[in-house]
């Protein structure tokens, strides 16, 4: 295809560039600014080079919150992806059940994140919350505000409740797009239900599942509002994931330099994982 060269066309890019500059580039540059300098206010800055980066990379506190973050993300992916697929498989394929299920499934996704946190906080309160009270009445010693295990359990349960629907909806869309001939052929070939799942459904769902995993990875890796409202990062620092820890450092302690360095590192981890994931996905795509 012959492309026409018209440098004036760049003017059309200006509005987008201005918008992106204001909502992304300029704030990011501010963070970069803080990450390499020390400030005592009044717009006085001193150059610190890579000192904050070294400090963060070596800090045990950062290692701990990064570890917690990865653990949390892996646990919820491990639960939500298989659970989402399983629910999608059992959803009705035609009739009135379809819209009913789709609407019910979408409900948790429509609730504002801080409301989700607040709901679960009240729901799980050991003395008056339905969940907390019932668990205690059943003989479990449950208190998510004081026990680390309970805090994690509640946070994970909340995230599973909030986000599994996304995986369900994506998987369901993937399943519905499989041609009936595949099922008919499998039936004639005498394939078992398990073989149909592993040889037809899973391979055909590959694309939507990749998207689902990518979205769930990013969202859970950047999670802030829900655990902040539910546990506030506690007890102690037990559920202080990266974002929570970052906000504590930046706004609680006002350590702007290290906080800026930490946000950049955080940003690069997310970017790196997404890039690796995307490249792998595209490479598989080319192969087939």
């Amino acid at each position: 295809m012959n492309k026409t060269v018209n440098q004036k066309a760049w003017f059309f890019v200006i509005p987008v560039f201005v918008l992106v500059a204001f909502n992304a580039i300029i704030p990011l540059m501010t963070v970069v600014n803080y990450a390499f300098q020390e400030t005592f206010g009044n717009n006085v800055f001193m150059w610190e080079g890579t000192r904050w980066f070294k400090q963060i990379m070596l800090s045990e506190r950062f290692h701990a919150s990064l570890g917690r973050q990865f653990l949390f993300t892996f646990i919820i992916l491990f639960i939500q992806i298989p659970l989402g697929i399983a629910i999608a498989l059992t959803m009705p394929k035609e009739g009135i059940g379809v819209p009913v299920c789709l609407v019910l499934m979408s409900m948790p996704l429509l609730i504002p994140w801080n409301v989700v946190g607040a709901m679960w906080n009240i729901f799980a309160l050991p003395d008056i919350g339905f969940l907390g009270h019932s668990l205690n009445a059943l003989g479990f010693d449950y208190n998510f505000t004081q026990q680390i295990g309970d805090a994690w359990f509640t946070t994970i349960l909340m995230d599973v409740w909030h986000w599994t629907s996304l995986v369900v909806l994506l998987s369901y869309a993937g399943l519905r797009s499989i041609q009936p001939a595949y099922y008919q052929a499998a039936e004639i070939d005498g394939a078992s239900r398990w073989a149909i799942f592993t040889k037809i459904e899973l391979p055909k769902m590959k694309k939507v599942l990749t998207i689902a995993i990518l979205l769930r990875f990013m969202d859970s890796f950047m999670i802030y509002t829900e655990p902040f409202v539910l546990t506030g990062g506690g007890p102690g620092n037990a559920t202080a994931f990266l974002s929570i820890d970052l906000v504590k450092m930046a706004l609680g302690q006002f350590d702007l330099g290290p906080a800026a360095a930490m946000s950049l590192i955080y940003f690069f981890i997310v970017l790196l994982v997404c890039w690796v994931f995307y490249t792998l996905m595209m490479r598989n795509e080319e192969k087939s």
């Binding site: 001939a181 008919q184 039936e187 004639i188 070939d189 005498g190 394939a191 040889k199 391979p203």
Partner: protein, 354 residues
Amino acid sequence: MAKVTLKGLSHSYLKTQSSDADWAIREVDIDWNDGGAYALLGPSGCGKTTLLNIISGLITPTKGDILFDDKIISGLSPVERNIAQIFQFPVIYDTMKVYDNLAFPLRNRKIPEEEIKVKVHEIAEMLELSSTLNNRASGLTADGKQKISLGRGLVRSDVNAIMFDEPLTVIDPHLKWILRSKLKELHQKINRTMIYVTHDQTEALTFADQVVVMHEGQIVQTGTPVDLFEKPKHTFVGYFIGSPGMNVLPCQIKGNDVIVNGKKVETHQQIKKNNFNKTEVGVRPEFISFSNEGIPVKVLSVSNTGRHKIVDTESESGKIKIIAKSNEDIPSGSAFLKFKKEYTYTYGDSWIIE
């Protein structure tokens, strides 16, 4: 291998049926011999795929019975019926190699690996897939994939029948021809009942010994390719088969005489009764010639296909196509047509009068 019999088969996709149009299949009776090659021919939406899926057990018919070797099998699943079916679009298992794709139906039936190996290699040889056995199936071209689908259908040696649902739709024309002859060859080699659904008359006529022509959910004629060509039992068969199709002209019946455009026409049959709403005369373009007397027409155009000439003419009661030899002189302006008596039929309400 089995004889396939359908008795009073009707199917509707609707819960309640009020008119004929609500039925996808209406009152179909078929007797197919063991080891025959049959084709179901008809335009899109005539019910041929529905009929095929009923035979294979993917659809349960609303009414009627299916028998294999005189045993009713209507309630059985596709696996229990032990049939193979090849679909319009290639169905392959993406993640498996070509070999595993072909072995899949056998493995599901717990056949020992050594036996599978022999079978798969035999089929791969026949379909010229041997060199790609270790490739991933998803990397193949459309016709390679369709060969795998065919292979999975043919790999089991004990199937009662093999069904083909327009299997060559996605294949390039020249490969189509090769695969079609391959299927014919396979049929002679393995001698199994094969049922082939298509809307392509060439495919049906070259593949099958017996062709079943369907129209709006009904069987309009069953017969050899020659029968269908020389004696269409329904005007639909007349113009669906043949290129160009049969000329169908309105006519009047007076006593024993058939009158077209005021001229008496000799037809194959003796007319004994005349209680139809609509009567027509049908004659194929191959069986019409120019003459000094007969039906007066105006010659509209002549197109030369190389092998023969197709002449478009217009008579008082409609257009008539004629196939003439390529060296024949075609009169211009007005002319007269003569129909060959043996191949000219009278139809009452679209069905042949006998």
